[in-house]
């Protein structure tokens, strides 16, 4: 991995939550990756794997237990609160549920203008014009600006949330399952909008989702998470053509394809996700892995990379 042109580098981030009986839930456990300017890094995993926590930790919305996030040469996890607050202009977030991520007591205009108000950008008139322009850009008419969120459909709300996230011209936006709550026929609209924004404004996304087909569509690179760890990270073509980790392989084969001709071998994983309170020793996936050996039970695999930047954390993988 070349960190030289990285926009944002996440280094050995850990986030442990206090669980019951003094146990710790290791939601994110020693994760490193970087995001380059204008790219989309997809982050996939099943529920409970820690992907949402990771997204929030990267933005310092939850306090990391350990590790750092380097942005513009500074570790933002160690910034004083005030400076961190000002930096949020450049690091924004889009949430999963468009129904709960807008304040029901604020009009759409107020909601979208909020970041400008908070950072005191421009004069009152300028802020108004910018908000209006950005709302137009995401496809809302001017007469809709004074309405309240409940008057909009899910797709429209998600457009508003996106407008709010990009109005302060961020470099990096964490998108936490931005289309999961939307109807199938509306998803494509939002995905296309996000791609257009990226093309025109050069913003980088960390796109978190459980849906591999959506992640594949929008991402340049993809990271796969399992029980708080990244088990595979790779440019998307390589990941889909030659998945290295047995978990990625199972995940890919588990997705039903809307086509009747394609017959694939299915890898059906046995059992449930182990509890993140008490993750298995050694490789965390060994309890469900077809290929697990004694080594996997004992020793935790290191992430190894090949020259194309395809990294896999598995003892069996030959680069």
């Amino acid at each position: 991995m070349n960190d030289s042109n990285a926009l944002l580098a996440v280094q050995n981030v850990k986030k442990y939550f206090k669980g019951t009986k003094g146990c710790y839930v290791k939601a994110v456990d020693d994760v490193s990756f970087s995001v380059t300017k204008g790219e989309t890094l997809g982050l996939v995993g099943e529920s409970g794997c820690g992907k949402s926590t990771l997204g929030r930790t990267v933005l310092n919305l939850v306090n990391a237990t350990e590790g750092g996030v380097i942005y513009e040469g500074r570790d933002i996890l160690k910034l004083p609160q005030r400076e961190m607050r000002m930096l949020r202009k450049k690091l924004q977030m889009v949430f999963q549920n468009p129904y709960s991520s807008l304040n029901p007591r604020m009009t759409v205009l107020e909601a979208v203008r909020a970041p400008l108000d908070i950072f005191g950008i421009g004069t009152k008139e300028e802020r108004f014009e910018r908000s209006r322009d950005i709302l137009r850009y995401v496809g809302l008419d001017e007469y809709q600006m004074y309405r309240y969120p409940h008057e909009f459909s899910g797709g429209q709300r998600q457009r508003i949330v996106i407008a709010r996230a990009i109005i302060s011209e961020p470099d990096f936006v964490v998108c936490d399952e931005p289309v999961s709550a939307l109807d199938v026929s509306v998803r494509a609209q939002v995905l296309n909008l996000m791609q257009d924004i990226q093309k025109e404004r050069g913003v980088a996304y960390l796109f978190i989702s459980h849906d591999l087909s959506v992640v594949k569509h929008i991402s340049d690179r993809i990271a796969v998470m399992y029980l708080g760890k990244i088990v595979e990270i790779s440019p998307k073509e390589a990941l889909y053509d030659r998945p290295g980790h047995p978990y990625t392989q199972a995940l890919l084969s588990a997705i039903p394809i809307p086509d009747t001709d394609i017959v694939r071998e299915r890898i059906i994983l046995k059992g449930d996700l182990p509890s993140p309170m008490d993750p298995p020793a050694g490789c965390r996936f060994h309890t469900r892995c077809r290929f697990a050996t004694e080594e996997c039970r004992m020793k935790e695999p290191e992430m190894r990379f090949d020259e194309s930047g395809h990294g896999v954390a598995c003892h069996r993988w030959k680069e």
């Binding site: 109807d183 026929s185 998803r187 296309n192 591999l212 594949k216 809307p258 009747t260 394609i262």
Partner: protein, 333 residues
């Protein structure tokens, strides 16, 4: 051919009365399910797919919902909509069983698995509690629950989501129903667990020889499981056909658009096709075809009324004026 028909739904219309007006949640839906077959009903939220399944079981909320006269649901030729509540109770769970969407909330949290399974078996099979209990343990083993003897004594909150969905499947199949309605059985589950559950359903389907109505919004799941597919939109059936026909040669503009707008695992596309606009509000009925406002092919005639389901062949029907000519031709043949 006709003997093979297990369930025949014709002109089903279900409405809900709310303070803002009447919601025609299901509006004139007809389809048949054959023995041992899987019918996939596909639609987005608000398309009426769940209401259809609840109408078949006559479980529509009484205080504001009703199934309109002229609707008919026949199970093996027997009209269900005319049955009394007591007779319906004997059908539910016995002849037609149901699996719900969210395994986290569909089991009663204050009862053990044992109690919830045994009460169903005792209710329908008229056997003693002891026999019912051993049948229940057997079913738990069949749906792949490890240590069924121990698990049966546990409460739902002690099981994971996937395990609970297995229990629900075991309850549904424990009385050998002829028809299983699965309403989004895997939506609340993770992909790897979804694969397990779909695999299980496929295996058990052959074993118990039940027909399945699989309700889902996920085109991938129906492609995987279904024999026939019914596409619903805003309470209407827009297209019906075999799985091959729907995926290879979708006819209705909505089906076409829907298939094109889904990101695919097996392809790389730069940009997705997107259907413009939003799902219509059922309170404000669209004039004419329900898809007209979002349809690229909409013409003036589309504003009249919802087109009939036109038969294009034995197994293919579409509700769209574009196919009028074709339908006439096929009728002549």
């Amino acid at each position: 051919m006709k003997d093979n028909v297990l369930l025949q739904v014709s002109h089903l219309r279900t409405q809900f009365e709310t303070k803002e007006g009447i919601i025609p949640a299901v509006d004139d839906i007809s389809f048949t399910v054959e023995r041992g077959q899987v019918l996939g009903i596909v639609g987005e939220s608000g398309s009426g797919k769940s209401v259809t399944s609840m109408s078949i079981l006559k479980l529509i909320e009484k205080y504001n919902g009703r199934i309109l006269a002229g609707s008919s649901v026949k199970l093996e030729g027997r009209e269900l909509l005319g049955l009394s509540e007591a007779e319906m109770c004997n059908i539910r769970g016995r002849e037609i069983a149901m699996i719900f969407q969210d395994p986290m909330t569909s089991l009663n949290p204050v009862f053990t698995i044992e109690r919830q399974m045994v009460e169903t078996i005792v209710r329908h099979k008229k056997i003693g509690r002891k026999a019912a209990r051993s049948a229940a343990v057997e079913w738990l083993a069949k749906v792949g629950i490890p240590e069924p003897e121990k698990r049966i004594r546990e409460y739902p909150h002690q099981l994971s989501g996937g395990m609970r969905q297995r229990v629900i499947i075991a309850i549904a199949l424990s009385c050998d129903p002829k028809l299983l309605i699965a309403d989004e059985p895997t939506t609340a589950l993770d992909v790897t667990i979804q694969a397990q559950i779909l695999d299980l359903l496929r295996k058990l389907k052959d074993e118990v020889n039940a027909a399945i109505i699989l309700i889902t919004h996920d085109m991938g799941v129906v492609a995987d499981m279904a024999d026939h597919i019914l596409v619903m939109y805003a309470g209407r059936a827009l297209e019906y056909g075999t799985k091959q026909q729907i995926f290879k040669n979708p006819r209705h503009p909505y089906t076409k658009g829907l298939l094109a707008s889904i990101p695919r695992m097996d392809r790389m596309e730069e940009r997705l096709f997107s259907i413009e606009g939003n799902v219509p509000n059922l309170l404000k009925p669209v004039e004419g075809c329900v898809f007209r406002e979002r349809c690229g092919y909409a013409r003036e005639e589309c504003g009249g009324c919802q087109p009939e389901l036109l038969s294009l062949s034995d197994e293919s029907r579409v509700s769209c004026l574009l196919y009028e000519k074709e339908a006439k031709e096929s009728a002549h043949e």
